[in-house]
C-alpha cells in the first residue's frame, strides 16, 4: 500500500506542462504537491473528473491530460470507462486512487471494498493499457514508461491517506482558479 501524497510526489516529477484534472481528496493532495495553473479541479458534482478530462483531451489533443480520480468517484460514473474506450483519446491518462472508501464523505467503505478489480473493469470496458500499483518502488520505477504509452491509459493506485493536506474548499470552488486555468491553457 502506498501513501497517496508520496505517490503524487513521484508522479509530479514526470509532470511538466501537462494538464492535471484532480478531484476532492486527490485534488487537495495534488495541490499540496504541485500548485500550478494547469491544474483543473473537478469538484461540485462527484464522479465526473474523467469526463471533464475526456473533454479536455478531445479539445486539446496536443496536450497530455492526467486525471486523478477516486475509486468512489469512478463508481458513480462507471460508464465513463466505456465512453473513454470508444473515444480513444491518445492523450488521456486516467489514474484512480483506490483507498476503498469515500474519504471526503466520512470514510465509509465503497461497495465491494477490496474485492473489486478496477483494472478488470477498465479492461472489460475496452481500455487496453491498464496498470495497477501497490508498492511505491514499483510505481517509481515504471511511471515514466507508463506516461509514454499511447492512451487511453488507466492506472489503479492502491493507496492510503498520507500526510493530511490543507483542505481549502473555498480555493477549489473559486472562480479564480478556473479563470487562471483557462488563461494558462490558452497560452499552453
Amino acid at each position: 500500500m502506498m501513501k497517496r501524497d508520496e505517490c503524487f510526489r513521484v508522479l509530479a516529477r514526470h509532470v511538466a506542462e501537462d494538464v492535471v484534472v484532480a478531484t476532492y481528496s486527490s485534488a487537495f493532495d495534488w495541490i499540496a504537491v504541485r500548485k500550478h495553473p494547469l491544474n483543473y479541479l473537478s469538484v461540485g458534482a462527484m464522479g465526473l473528473a474523467s469526463s471533464h478530462g475526456l473533454g479536455l483531451a478531445l479539445g486539446r489533443p496536443d496536450r497530455r491530460i492526467i486525471v486523478l480520480d477516486g475509486d468512489g468517484s469512478l463508481l458513480m460514473n462507471l460508464g465513463t470507462l466505456v465512453t473513454i474506450a470508444e473515444a480513444k483519446p491518445r492523450n488521456l491518462f486516467h489514474f484512480i486512487c483506490e483507498n476503498g472508501n469515500y474519504e471526503a464523505n466520512g470514510g465509509h467503505p465503497i461497495p465491494m471494498q477490496g474485492r473489486l478489480s478496477f483494472v478488470g473493469l477498465a479492461r472489460s470496458a475496452g481500455i487496453r493499457q491498464c496498470y495497477e500499483f501497490s508498492e511505491l518502488v514499483d510505481f517509481e520505477r515504471q511511471i515514466g514508461a507508463v506516461l509514454l504509452q499511447e492512451g487511453p491509459v488507466f492506472v489503479d493506485l492502491k493507496v492510503e491517506r498520507g500526510s493530511v493536506a490543507q483542505q481549502d474548499f473555498a480555493y477549489i470552488h473559486s472562480a479564480a482558479v478556473r479563470t487562471e486555468f483557462q488563461a494558462a491553457l490558452r497560452k499552453a
Partner: protein
C-alpha cells in the same frame, strides 16, 4: 421543423462536437444524419451527466459542443447542470427532446407530468431555455448558442416535436 435545418443551425453556431445519448424524439430526424455528418464529431456517451462534464472540458479548450439528450436524461443530470453549468458559469448547450409531448401544445400544458415539469425546473435553476416546435423556431438556435458562449452560461433548447428526416 426539418432535421437538416437544425443541423445547419448547429454548424452555423460553431459547434464542432455533439455529445449524445439517443432519444427517440430526435433519433431519425437529427441523430442519424448527424452520425454521418463530416463536419461534426459525434461522441456517444453512456449517461447524460458525463456529457455535461465533457462539454465543460471542451469549453475550457475553446471548442464548442452540444449535448443532445432526452428530458429524462436532463432530469437525471440536474446535479451536474447545477454544479458544472450554473454554479461554475460554463457554456453548456443542451438540445433536449421532449418525449411524448403533444404537438403544438406548450410544454407547460402537456398532459405528461414528465414534460410539464421541465420548464419550471429550469426556471428554478435559472437556466435559459427555448422551445423549438416549428421550422421558424430553428432561427432561435444560433443566437441561443452564441449567447451561451458569450455569457458563459448554460442554455437548453427544448424540442417539442420530432424533426422531419427529410
Amino acid at each position: 421543423m426539418k432535421g437538416r435545418s437544425i443541423l445547419a443551425a448547429i454548424k452555423r453556431s460553431g459547434v464542432e462536437f455533439v455529445i449524445s445519448v439517443p432519444d427517440i424524439t430526435t433519433s431519425e430526424g437529427l441523430l442519424r444524419p448527424l452520425a454521418t455528418d463530416r463536419d461534426l464529431h459525434l461522441l456517444r456517451v453512456c449517461k447524460e451527466d458525463e456529457g455535461v462534464a465533457i462539454c465543460a472540458g471542451l469549453s475550457f479548450a475553446d471548442r464548442r459542443a452540444l449535448l443532445l439528450i432526452q428530458q429524462t436524461g436532463l432530469l437525471d443530470s440536474i446535479n451536474a447542470v447545477r454544479a458544472v453549468a450554473v454554479e461554475y458559469s460554463l457554456p453548456i448547450c443542451m438540445m433536449v427532446g421532449l418525449l411524448e409531448k403533444e404537438p403544438d401544445v406548450p410544454p407547460s400544458k402537456s398532459k405528461r407530468y414528465g414534460v410539464r415539469i421541465v420548464e419550471p425546473i429550469l426556471d428554478a435553476m435559472g437556466v435559459a431555455h427555448h422551445v423549438l416546435e416549428t421550422e421558424t423556431d430553428v432561427a432561435k438556435i444560433q443566437p441561443a448558442i452564441e449567447h451561451s458562449y458569450g455569457a458563459s452560461s448554460p442554455v437548453v433548447l427544448l424540442l417539442g416535436r420530432s424533426p422531419l428526416a427529410s
